[in-house]
């Protein structure tokens, strides 16, 4: 029997090869019993692959190396095998069925039943107990689609607990959560640790790792680089983790930039937007905002503050109902009612969700690049395919998009390169105002820097840029002026020199009654 000082999990010399790619090469991971172990690495470093090896998604035999769990060498053929041993993985994309109840989801595939007949009393009773353990105050028969993402995450954990979990693996658990839900989730992980449950957490958010992890393993290019003791003598800073992740010092996470600010390009006044499904709900409330040529303006706000809704309502009323207010371009009032009119007027909006709203993933780079303004390469209704290739190729080179050619299907690119295609698509449309919604979400540190450089270059070419971001350091790092939104209202604006995370946060959390300018 293993005693408490031996690691609960040891992965030794794990090597996993896909056709043409070595995804993991001789990776070693050792997780102590009862700790919270963070795994960090850039996108594509091999973190998820490693967890898939561990949980049996890639069966024993498809990789080299040993997995030793609780002192026994394991050969998992399926995820069911690993779950029987108490290893449960919660994936980034939650695997819940929206129309089933919380209780049904918790026991999905593991039903409380005798002879194939479900025992509903047991199901709901045990579900209620599990919900109490994760601190979720919902009835077990609530449907999944009626609760938010943060609560859904808790249901996933309850589901894991129902399987007698010993080692809980969370892949980017807070990626889709707001700050409050994230904090609650981290508390829960700490709480579970108190109950003897070991956790592995994969995260991009370095502040969370600093807050919760006992040790951190860095994976880079499919290799385990080092494991850091987070409570050691030498404190582990975010810079220290970043350095290990990218394998180099990032002197500054944000490129230096001196703006050349020109005339006002876009201004909105008294902009009010209602929710399309519930028209009594005001989502953007009497907002005023302007942006000048060469200027990078940020919009800060918590989830639900109405930032995306504001941007999309400006972009040809692509979101919202009963939109009122005035919109000026170069000082002239215009009425823009459709997306193609917005593009025609030189407004571009790059979405926060590039996979669902930004790109045609089954089509290639060149066709995605030209998609928003085919007229530019069309003569007499005929698309000039040659010019399309030449122009797309130029954008690919300018942005250093990593792909063999512009014929590569966009779905096969990494997140950072997909984001570059999104930017290329909107630059191709020759906008004067470019609204970028979470331009670096889900992108690794190195690619972020390149995106910032592109944004700076855009501003330098005289374009007016609006950046929406949930990462305050990012806004502070790249914007010349920052607006803060709260509950649909613009609660304040600060020039870069006067803004800090604290001052912005104050405006971002300003309640309706206490609104002052």
């Amino acid at each position: 029997m293993a005693n408490d000082t031996t690691p609960i999990l040891e992965m030794r010399g794990i090597t996993k090869t896909f056709p043409g790619v070595k995804a993991l090469s001789d990776v070693t991971l050792s997780v102590a019993r009862g700790e919270v172990h963070a795994i960090c690495g850039e996108n594509g470093a091999g973190k998820s692959t490693l967890m898939k090896v561990l949980s049996g998604v890639y069966p024993h035999g498809s990789y080299d190396g040993d997995i030793v769990f609780e002192g026994e060498t394991c050969r998992f053929k399926t995820t069911r095998d690993s779950e029987e041993r108490g290893i449960v993985i919660i994936h980034q994309e939650l695997a819940l069925s929206p129309y089933l109840s919380i209780a049904e989801n918790i026991f999905l595939g593991n039903e409380r039943a005798r002879g194939g007949v479900v025992n509903w009393a047991q199901t709901n009773k045990q579900a209620a107990d599990l919900l109490a353990r994760v601190g979720l105050d919902e009835s077990p028969d609530t449907r999944i689609q009626d609760i938010g993402v943060g609560k859904q995450q808790l249901v996933e954990i309850a589901k894991a607990l129902s399987k007698k979990v010993k080692l809980l693996i969370l892949d980017e658990p807070t990626a889709a959560l707001n700050d409050e839900d994230s904090a609650h989730l981290l508390d829960l992980i700490r709480h579970l640790k108190g109950q003897g449950i070991t956790s592995i957490i994969i995260s991009h958010k370095l502040n969370e790792i600093a807050a919760i992890a006992d040790s951190t393993t860095i994976i880079r290019d499919g290799q385990s680089i080092e494991t850091m003791d987070m409570h050691g003598a030498e404190p582990v800073t975010e810079e220290r983790i970043i350095r290990a992740m990218v394998g180099r010092d990032l002197e500054n996470r944000y490129p230096a930039h001196t703006p050349t600010i020109g005339e006002e390009v876009l201004r909105i006044e008294n902009w009010t937007v209602h929710h399309p499904a519930d028209r009594s709900r005001v989502v953007v409330d009497n907002a005023d905002l302007n942006v000048r040529g060469g200027e990078i303006v940020g919009i800060a706000g918590l989830m639900g503050a109405g930032r995306t809704e504001l941007a999309m309502s400006i972009f040809g009323r692509s979101w919202g109902a009963d939109i009122s207010g005035k919109l000026f371009l170069h000082g002239k009032q215009v009425s823009i009612k459709t997306v193609d009119a917005a593009i025609e007027h030189g407004i571009a909006y790059a979405t926060e969700d590039r996979k669902h709203y930004g790109l045609n993933l089954i089509d290639d780079i060149k066709r995605n690049t030209s998609a928003a303004k085919l007229q530019r390469i069309t003569k007499g209704g005929v698309v000039d395919a040659g010019r399309e290739v030449v122009m797309a190729e130029q954008f690919r080179k300018d942005m250093k998009t990593k792909a063999n050619s512009v014929d590569v299907v966009v779905g096969k690119l990494s997140g950072g390169n997909q984001q570059k295609v999104v930017l290329a698509k909107w630059l191709f449309a020759e906008p004067e105002v470019l609204i970028l919604d979470e331009p670096t979400r889900g992108i690794d540190v190195g690619a972020k820097y390149e995106i910032y450089e592109i944004i700076n270059k855009l501003a330098d070419s005289g374009k007016a840029v609006i950046v929406i971001s949930s990462e305050l350091p990012e806004l502070l790092g790249i914007c010349d002026r920052i607006y803060a939104m709260s509950q649909g209202r613009i609660t304040g604006q600060l020039p870069r020199a006067e803004a800090s995370q604290e001052s912005l946060m104050r405006y971002m959390t300003m309640e309706k009654s206490g609104a002052t300018r």
């Binding site: 459709t338 790109l359 698309v383």
Partner: protein, 409 residues
Amino acid sequence: MSATTTLEQPKAQPEPSKKSDGGSLKAYLGQNIQQYGMIAALLVIVAYFQWSTDGLMLNPDNIAALIQQNAYVFVLTIGMVMVIVAGHIDLSVGSVVAFVGGICAVLITDFELSWPIAVAISIVIGGLVGCWQGFWVAYAGIPAFIVTLGGMLLFRGLAIVILEQTIAGLPSGFNDISNGSLPASLGYLGNLDGITVFIGVFAFAGLTIAQLRARRELTKLDLRTEPFAAFAGKLVLSAVAIGAITYLLASSAGGTPIVLVIVGVLVLIYTFLMNNTIFGRHIYAMGGNLPAAMLSGVKTKRVNFLIFVNMGLLAGVAAVITTSRAGAGIAAAGTNYELDAIAAAFIGGTSVNGGIGKITGAITGALIMGVLNMGLSIMGTDPAYQQVIKGLVLIAAVALDILNKRRGK
């Protein structure tokens, strides 16, 4: 760290010269295997029937009949590919064929219109039917499955109302559309029909010039071209294919069927429309990711509307062809035609999820079904088993496509 140094080496090199052939022939074939898989399957099926029917399959008159019998599928599947690529389906085209065909027959007999005018009016009425369905799909937002399921009942019913009894005795000029051939206006070369040979030579010359031009432009723009061997091979293969079909048709009793000219022109027009116009691009963009297309400024409602108007127009053409082929307006005409068109599109590689599909692929799919029909009939296979075989072929073709994609991941 030898691994990293070898990895980084290619980066240090200057841009690989793309002017020359973009990769080996083997790599090229690997990338395009799906595209040519269907054509290979068609050739294998033809070869099998040629062997099993002791050479009856490729009898010149059979080839002409193959085209005439399947002309309606070719025409319908062109529209159907566009509908499916955009993410819809159209179950009504068979009924629309009967409805419009009935109107056409009534116009010629009861209204005593000359047949070319009746044909023109019929196609316009097909377009109006498309407007009706397009309105519900695009502007009312009802799923196309429901709208066209309704249309299937609606237009079949109207066809029966119009054609209380079969209207026969249509003029011979009209019947020639589907049953006649181009007149032997250029005489004969030996026993080969001159006009057919001329069309064959013209088609090959046109294809070669277009291909050479495209290649020259790519080279001029300093872009990747396919390996020369593949390019030359493709030209030689098309020369053989066009030559063989030309030879067979030229030695058939009639020469070039008139419907072949109609289908050929439609294929050219619609291939161009799908590949080289904004309208075509927007169809692919909507099928690939509808919200993204909307946020790229695509007028999705208008495109959806036009897709169904176009399907209606092509159903009108198919109605004329069907009525002409039968020489009569029949209320039961066009039964299951929607299934033929949908099956042809899917066998030809159109994606069930939309966003992917080619006109030429669907035509190949239609040919596979047509050859199966004809080959099995010549062999005297029980019609019940013919259906069984065609059903299995449809499932197998889509299954192969899906497996292929999964392996590619």
